[in-house]
Subunit: 360 residues, 2 copies
């Protein structure tokens, strides 16, 4: 337990405003914007801004987050222990998709705004890219901690042999929505403890991601050896998410993810997104595009119908829709849109209740 | 919480010798024999005997378990609250594969030996078969509680609409070894809480199965809403398991289940097992038979090589082997063979430690 206590103490000193349990909103591309990240951090969690359509967008997002934070006084209270306000990092994180983001622009953004954490994901060239990004980000902003997301035991083993050790490892289970491991994913129930055993002794905290949407999942993640829990899909149904209403409505409506979601590259391709490293494939809620592909409709025809559907606005999502609806297996646990602070507080209270019940 | 307490109280009265947390050894076909089941129950868990090659074998297994139990005095201590010893059920359970087992022989066995629980799994005709089996077993032995294993939300919803409500629902996640849902399985992290919500108000306890091998997994299962945890693969590495040494050695050796296991019907077919309902497919550790199938070797040739491999005894398993090695995703958490009582005690202590740490 001394390792657990050491890790908890270290996290508390690096993220002093974060309450227990340590709750994180995932850096979902575009959808996790400044308003969501700041609201989550403001409620005692850690909010991440997701990658933008291009890395340059990250500068604008960090600028906006910075100004939201100044207005809210979150900056001074979050890092009040740092006497010189110029040295205080931003109490939000920023995410990068390594294969698609520009490291120089990223370093410039991080240097200018000093987010407290940078979340690195999906390198084109594995550990080599993770190492060079970690080095660039740390050089640009020593206050910025490096969070690295992995989805396999093999990645964990390689990561802890690196000279650029991350500050936090996020373990993404097969349950996760959006992009995750295409063929070698595994449920958190086994993956998390196996990774925990593999990195034992490194003192690096593990965060669990995938399939978690309430206090039950958070308590389970902590049981399995995580120091905190990351939620993505739950925050797609936050009022601050940068998401179309039709998409959000579908996240609330759908359930039974075993049959209503699938990992497929189809929607990437329909949206014109190509080039993801082949290790990854996104989980999405199934709609007409996928069903008709299964029936044998040609890509050209699906693309035509998809693009037509885009003009339908919010009606482009849902069982009769055709647009990408990336989401995780927790969709059946999400029944309403709430503001992010309420989500953080509800999950925090739910976790405490669950842990208290376990102790009885 | 009152529902949780009610369920816990009810379980304690039906299984009075079982300590907390409620740990169960799964009814693995043939491999969960009388010695394993009695050892688990003797250590304060609930041991299940698995289905036999044919239902008739169940009679012999129950006979043997009954005699082991008499010798150990477990019978009288387990159900000491029941004054007439003739009314005392056996403090072990028995499992049936509905599509393959004979309900009349099963009912006869249950009537003669009164196991405290019958675990029903894999009906050919869904809820209809579950209902008729439940009725037959209850008629044959009113002391025998009905445990039903499901793997999907849809099954849970159908189950609680039945007039033959089960006494316990076992929720099997995608992580499980051996036969589970072929195409619509889901990780326990999301599946268990979603099923818990779907059956809320029924007062039926949920048990979690799949990917659990130590106190971390058990604490996680309880967090997600389970009243107890079932372990299969962990007990394949029990000294009492009815398993070849080569198979057992492979369970201990293998890790990283995301890449070292797969769901495939190949090994069923190599063993001459046909006829499983199409909803199911077994998870197995990958060896040469599967790899060569992927390379395009014909079934006839694979079958020839497989049958040859059978003559190699314990060398038929392992990375160079060709024999079926059904196992779950927890293989990376299992590092040694222990006797069943030690497994039960270690997992119990591990769970208590983990829960205590959560409370800090």
């Amino acid at each position: 337990m001394s390792q657990t206590l050491h890790i908890a103490k270290n996290l508390a000193s690096r993220y002093p405003w974060v309450a227990k349990p340590f709750l994180v909103s995932a850096p979902m591309r575009v959808m996790s914007g400044p308003a969501l990240a700041v609201a989550v951090s403001g409620a005692g969690g850690l909010g991440f801004i997701g990658p933008g359509l291009k890395t340059q967008d990250t500068l604008a997002d960090l600028q906006e987050a910075s100004s939201l934070i100044s207005k809210s006084n979150l900056l001074s209270t979050a890092f009040s222990t740092i006497s010189d306000s110029a040295d205080r990092p931003l109490p939000i994180g920023i995410g990068f998709q390594l294969w698609n983001d520009d490291v120089e622009v990223a370093a410039k953004a991080v240097k200018e705004f000093k987010p407290c954490a940078a979340w690195l994901f999906a390198p084109r060239d594995g550990q080599k890219d993770l190492d060079s990004w970690s080095l660039e980000i740390r050089t640009a902003s020593p206050q910025t901690q490096i969070w690295i997301q992995i989805g396999t035991l093999a990645e964990a083993r390689e990561l802890i042999r690196s000279s650029e050790l991350p500050d936090v490892i996020v373990v993404q289970g097969a349950e996760a929505g959006g992009h995750g491991r295409a063929r070698d994913s595994l449920g958190l129930m086994s993956l998390l403890p196996e990774v925990a055993d593999a990195i034992e002794g490194t003192q690096i905290p593990l965060f669990a991601a995938g399939g978690i949407a309430d206090g039950r999942g958070v308590a389970a993640a902590l049981s399995l050896g995580a120091s905190g829990a990351v939620m993505g899909t739950r925050f797609l149904a936050a009022s601050e998410a940068r998401i179309s209403r039709g998409y959000q409505r579908e996240v609330v409506r759908a359930d039974d993810a075993a049959v209503s979601t699938v990992r497929t590259l189809l929607y990437n391709h329909l949206r014109g997104t190509f080039g993801w490293p082949e290790e990854y494939s996104p989980r999405t809620i199934i709609n007409k595009s996928y069903l008709e592909q299964q029936e044998g409709v040609s890509f050209e025809e699906l693309k035509k119908r998809h693009d037509e559907s885009q003009k339908a606005g919010d009606h482009g999502w849902g069982p009769e829709g055709r647009l990408a609806t990336y989401a995780g297996t927790s969709i059946g646990l999400i029944h309403e849109v709430k503001d992010a602070a309420t989500i953080v507080r509800d999950v925090r209270e739910g976790t405490a209740k669950r842990i208290a019940a376990l102790g009885d």
